[in-house]
Amino acid sequence: MIIERTRGRRLSFVCAILLCVATNVNAESDFRIDSATFGDLRARAIGPAVMSGRIADIAGSHDDPNLLYVGAASGGVWKTTTGGTTFKPVFDDYTQSIGALALDQSNPDTVWVGTGEPWTRNSVSIGTGLYKSSDAAKTWKLVGLEDSERIARILIHPQDSDTVYVAALGHLWNANEQRGVYKSSDGGKTWEKVLYVDENTGCADLAIDPQEPDILYAAMWQFRRQPDFFNSGGPGSGLYKTVDGGKNWEKLGNGLPEGDLGRISLALSPSRPSRIYAIVEAEETALYRSDDSGASWVQTDDSANIQSRPFYFGRLVADPQDHDRVYRPAFRLSWSRDGGETFADSTSRLHSDHHALWINRNNPNLMFLGTDGGLYVSYDRALTWRYLNNLPLSQFYQVGYDLERPYNVYGGLQDNGSWMGPSQAPGGVQNRHWRMIGFGDGFHVYPEPGNPEVVYWESQGGNLNRWEKSQGESQSIRPLPRQGEPDYRFNWNTPIHVSPTDPSTVYVGAQFLFRSRDRGRSWQRISDDLTTNDPQKQRQHESGGLTIDNSTAENHCTIYTISESPRDPQVIWVGTDDGNLQLSRNGGMSWENLTDRLPGLPPFTWVSQVRASNHEAGTAYVAFDGHRTGDMATYVYRSDDFGQTWQSLASDTLEGYAHVIRDDLVSPDLLFLGTEFGLFLSTDRGGNWARFSNNLPKAAVRDIAIHPREGDLILATHGRGIYIIDDLTPLRSLTAEILTADAALLDSRPSVIRLPQFSVNMSGDGNFVGDTIPSSAGITYFLRKRHIFGDLKIEVYDPQGDLLTTLPTSKRRGINRVNWAMIGKPPKVAPSPVLSGFAFGLAAVEGEYKIRLIKGKKTYEGSIRLQAPENFSHSAEDRRLRREMVTDLYGMQEDLAYSAAALTSVRDQARSRSQGLEEGDALQAEAQAFADRIDALHKTLVATRKGSITGEVQLREKALRLYAAVNGYSGRPTQSQQERARVLQAELESKMEEFEGLLGEELSSLNQRLGEKEQEAIQPLSREDFDKQESGSRGAGLPRSWVPRVLSAASLF
């Protein structure tokens, strides 16, 4: 139909038939949702940036110290042009896992991004290739290495911007061939693999000689991760050198350790390129130095920070000007001033675990440090550091909420503990609003439903705690093995599950499932070992390869996810990291392993989340994640028969391995799916999916919660903090019927009427401020196509059915949202140089407001509901009294405004008549005297002295202050205010009498004599005419700071 309407006119019969075919295709596809369907619905970021997240690489301009790019481990690329005061994300539409960045120093508009973090910890994400921007990070182009999975280094030839070398690390969990050293000589159009060892070995680091750029050094690394094991090192590892731009390579030795090597970190001194440093992971990991361009090596330091976790800390950075000075960002930051012989640690208060250090070549005192907890800057060569808390890179795992008003969000973060923070705050959620609850690596954090005094949190490997908020204490409630039991195996990210049916019941999983009815004070084991208990997969004590690294990150054969059915507490689902999906239908008395019932699922695939349906006891959703074996497919399933049969819900639209799938609390058709590459929604129980990307970067969505009272979708992203999609009501009403209608009004949750709230933020521009919810009411509607021709308006009617306002509309395809401020016009206020009080309009009253959507000739009707905040303590009587008083005071302002306007107009006319009369005429003096008396009266109504802080107070100022005071509080006005209102009212009445006297008899007698002298009569402004003047001076004393900003932008059109 779409095609017919536009092109049909001139088409022949044959074409018309063709178009019918096309029309049918189109008609079918009209039922499908896509990303545009979500229209104006936006995800809102609340951060936080207080703990930030892991930084993988940093690249700055040496010539412009204000220009710097930061690559996050899982939070994209951020750009500052203000030396770090402010940052903007510039890579939100692409893979958020960043490996390496390169800024072309001779052409700073050219930026390279290698995706896929090279710091290969258990929770590391994946990349999708190499990207290039030629316009200072505005637009990006994928230029190759799509299968490299992770990129460790990008080097641009210092004299030829088109020659670029890339260290491709390659796949972490399986073998692949796209790894090694790649070279492009044409700016990224084509790539040649110039160094390759084998399918298990990638390039971990590269260094180029800035004086002879055909000389390069490459650190090759053999490594592999499995779900239960990590290995660093092997015969593939080694240090290589080329002197002809990569054509030929020589393996270096002569002083380097014998036997298998692991990861090697390289640093070449730019001021003396024959000086090369290398930390070589081996049986005895140590720092080596060469002073002859790699021909021979001597071992220097082997202190703890040099040796620490070579797979995770892979950087060594030479001072750009002092060849004896070299930095080791690792567990801590240490540096040597004597050519690597000895190292001293930085004593500053820095987050541990460092991965990136960038030093300005022209000013080596200026450096930026990237850690597991964000970015620091030093101006004094690493002696002191300033933390930049404006990068919201927080890496959440799971997310919880409470039922406070506003509700709080809870979550655990990679290497950054457990936190809680408000879902909204006046002016936006800021870092200072967040509170740390627990330490270590954080994962599941949940308050007891209805009792936020009790919060469960944990650190890695099952260290489960119960925090008692008012005590400020946590008790360890980790279940401990009893007589005759084996050790309990807890996952790195141990599942805690609070029962949806009984708030004091909590579950935790090791290889056994435990349940506590008393908040963890005692535990009941309610299962046997639910895992495969395969001894081959329990080798964490040997994990790490050349450097043993047993941090509990490789604990395996453990329970990973638990879900009690909200419909039936006897129904409990459990998923394990080794691929078992288990169900009990009798509260844990017996279990059934359902693993082989899932069609198309490879065996032993990690169960990332199982979720009992909110609607049917027999329905469950489950997500599987095979990425730790190199299987990146999206596995999602639904069963409606207690797991006996399963339907795959996967589709081509989906991208990324799956972390979480769940149904809505209200609509059983509405599903949410979080994958490593974002959020996907379905409105038909998984039949078809669409990516939700409105303001949501392509970050990993690790967990999804739905707030039961607010209907908000709360997203835990691993790298970009918490996002909230406010009010799912419009999505819940997206039925097939609506999706095929031309237009439809959609439901929204009731809007809460709040007085304007103020917040003051004078902390400068360097702090993260999250988005907050609009204080306006949302009116939502659906358009099947963009509206272009004819009117599209929204009319709002008050509960009495009178038209209140007509609103401009959004016109896009999909869901549109129009905001209505829920506030009436501010009163007209008499003009005065004095600014006093905030004369806002009257807030709308509670009730049902009819909405009419007018689209061309068609009208659609619906309604919105306005309600008072639920925790309001003001009685109906108090609120009625307040409203009456505000209305009276509003009227008083308008009366005053009218009086002032009428007086000044009569005064000015009288003065003008007086001037028109002959000198010495008695009437001239009389008219002048009349004008003076009018002016005198006006001066008692309105402050008229010039200057905005004269302190002059007349009736207008008194009444305005009282209006603002009473209108600024929702409850009963004080006794004093009530009395004051009567006093001012009496004063106004007496002034009005005077006013009427002057403009009545006195004026008509003056006019009569003016007439005798053939002078035009003085015309007083009538109230009727005044009320028609819409452009009167409304709302005196608006906050001055934001008016110019908004108006100056608004007047641009």
């Binding site: 779409i2 536009t6 395809r813 900003r1045 608004a1050 007047s1051």
Partner: protein, 244 residues
């Protein structure tokens, strides 16, 4: 049967291919046609519009009146909560009346900043695309893309002044849906400014948008609705001059 569907398919592919491979000139021709035709567009000598201005969901509301006269005179009066703002271009210079509360002098004064540039751009009666070569602009067809779920053609206009504005035309109706430009704005810095056009209605045979939303870095700042729009009124030149 198979053969027929193959033929149909091929024909359809050819058809869609021709339909989509548009040149810049074809697109511009269709745009002018969609707006009512070049004759009609050029027959408009003057415009007067009145309407309402809504800021931040009606937190503030006001009225505006706009006068425009060929070839490039423009005057806008905005009244928001008692504050009168005038911005005008008389064909040679830009001037304004900005209240002291907004940082102006309260009297008519010349000004030249990014807003002045925008005003001059706006003063072109026929829009950026008509006679663009004669005006010294360059227009480039960037391509077809998605804009909020609607297919559009993106045209990049490099104006004689050197400023760049992107114009988005509906791929089906060829009418302007949006302008996007990066401009320096007080309080915002260098920001992406979107002007979203809608509610097209015919005025004097020309399709004219009756709703305009201004967005800065994606956030709606203000929305204008035109209540009246009249063309070819007799407007004195002096209306646009600073000392009238």
């Amino acid at each position: 049967m198979k053969r027929i569907s193959y033929v149909l398919l091929t024909a359809f592919l050819v058809l869609t291919a021709t339909a989509s491979a548009q040149t810049l000139d074809e697109i511009l021709a269709k745009n002018f046609e969609a707006r009512g035709g070049l004759d009609k567009i050029k027959a408009v000598q003057s415009l007067k519009a009145t309407g309402t201005l809504s800021i931040q969901g009606g937190m503030m509301q006001g009225e505006f009146t706009m006068w425009q006269k060929r070839p490039n005179k423009l005057l806008m009066e905005v009244n928001v909560q008692g504050m009168e703002i005038v911005q005008a271009y008389d064909g040679e210079k830009t001037w304004r009346v900005l209240p002291t509360a907004l940082g102006g002098s309260g009297t008519a004064e010349e000004f030249s900043d990014a807003q002045a540039e925008q005003l001059i751009e706006q003063a072109d009666m026929d829009g950026l695309l008509v006679d663009y070569k004669e005006k010294g602009h360059q227009v480039e067809l960037v391509g077809k893309e998605d804009m909020e779920g609607t297919e559009v053609y993106r045209l990049k206009v490099t104006m004689a002044s050197g400023l760049v504005t992107h114009v988005f035309l509906d791929a089906e109706n060829f009418i302007e849906l949006k302008y996007t430009a990066t401009r320096e704005l007080p309080g915002f810095g260098n920001a992406e400014v979107d002007t979203v056009l809608g509610d097209y209605k015919e005025v004097g045979g020309v399709m004219v948008p009756h709703s305009i939303a201004n967005k800065v870095t994606g956030q709606t700042i203000s929305e204008l609705i035109f209540n009246t729009l009249e063309s070819n009124l007799d407007i004195e030149d002096s209306k646009f001059s600073m000392n009238h």
